[in-house]
């Protein structure tokens, strides 16, 4: 059973992370959701429950957990947002290139937050995992044509948002 569990983690772990990350664009929270999702899977396996479409089940659980995490009081009233953390100064002067990169990163993050969560999931799987369209469609339960269309629209929308922010995409 442990071998099967490890196999499922190796096969779908990254997709689960990408879905969890797409919800709140928080890598640490995505790691927590990933671990919790697989713990739930393990408990299911211990009970002897049969999960026919493991990837679909895992992604559904990860989505729900990421949603719960985003709604949690800690997240809402949380201590300090990543943007504020990023803007905290240091005595050590960072190289200009690093500064530009971190600024661009914040702007991309803000842009991504303006598009729909499903589009973020598609972008996350496409660019974090380099999944082909067919695999994204299978993972998210969408038609490949729909994924193509959403991917194209999301890219265009994001490019427009970044343009409006005054970001020059290199």
């Amino acid at each position: 059973m442990e071998k099967e569990f490890e196999k499922l983690y190796a096969a779908h772990g990254r997709a689960v992370w990408a879905v969890a990350y797409a919800r709140g664009l928080n890598a640490e929270a995505a790691n927590d959701v990933l671990q919790e999702t697989y713990l739930r899977l393990w408990r299911k396996m211990l009970k002897g429950s049969v999960i026919r479409q493991a990837r679909a089940w895992l992604i559904r659980v990860a989505r729900n957990l990421a949603e719960d995490f985003a709604r949690s009081s800690f997240q809402k009233n949380g201590t300090i947002s990543p943007e504020i953390f990023d803007s905290i100064g240091s005595k050590i002067i960072a190289p200009d290139s690093n500064l530009v990169n971190s600024e661009l990163k914040i702007q991309i993050r803000n842009g991504l937050l303006e598009i729909s969560p499903t589009d973020r999931e598609i972008l996350s799987m496409r660019y974090a995992l380099d999944f082909p369209v067919s695999e994204i469609a299978q993972s998210l339960g969408l038609l490949p044509s729909a994924v193509h269309m959403r991917l194209s629209r999301a890219r265009t929308k994001l490019a427009d948002i970044l343009k409006n922010m005054g970001v020059e995409v290199p």
Binding site: M1, E2, F5, E6, Y9, A10, G13, R14, W17, Y21, L25, A27, N31, L34, Q35, Y38, L39, W42, L46, L104, K105, I108, R109, L123, S124, R126, Y127, A128, S152, R155, T156, L158, A159, L162, V169, P170
Partner: protein, 106 residues
């Protein structure tokens, strides 16, 4: 947006998501079916065997070197008539003034 125009935003997004992806990717949660399954492997078994052996050895050797538990069988009286049996001092608890006596001294 054409494919050629997509290239810059593609690169930016790829770079962004790759930076966000944890490296190395986290391992699977540690889940074990049996409670003592974690104590496995040759070294763990050897350590367990060695500690049990030490405990067993201590159990055998400890009484031999402890003076409190030593019984000297040679000093035990050979028969009931042996006067050694009555040489222990006796003390009359009712009369505290009396000195310690032994049956032989009376």
């Amino acid at each position: 947006m054409t494919k050629e125009n997509n290239a810059p935003i593609d690169n930016v997004l790829r770079q962004y998501f790759h930076q966000e992806m944890p490296k190395p990717f986290p391992k699977a949660p540690l889940v074990f079916h049996k409670p003592f399954n974690r104590f496995s492997g040759v070294s763990a078994r050897l350590a367990l065997a060695a500690s049990l052996l030490i405990l067993f050895g201590m159990g055998l050797l400890w009484p031999r070197y402890s003076t409190n538990n030593t019984i000297n069988f040679k000093s035990i009286p050979s028969s009931a008539s042996d006067d050694k049996r009555h040489r222990l001092p006796l003390y009359d608890s009712k009369d505290g003034s009396k000195a310690l006596t032994t049956p032989i001294a009376k």
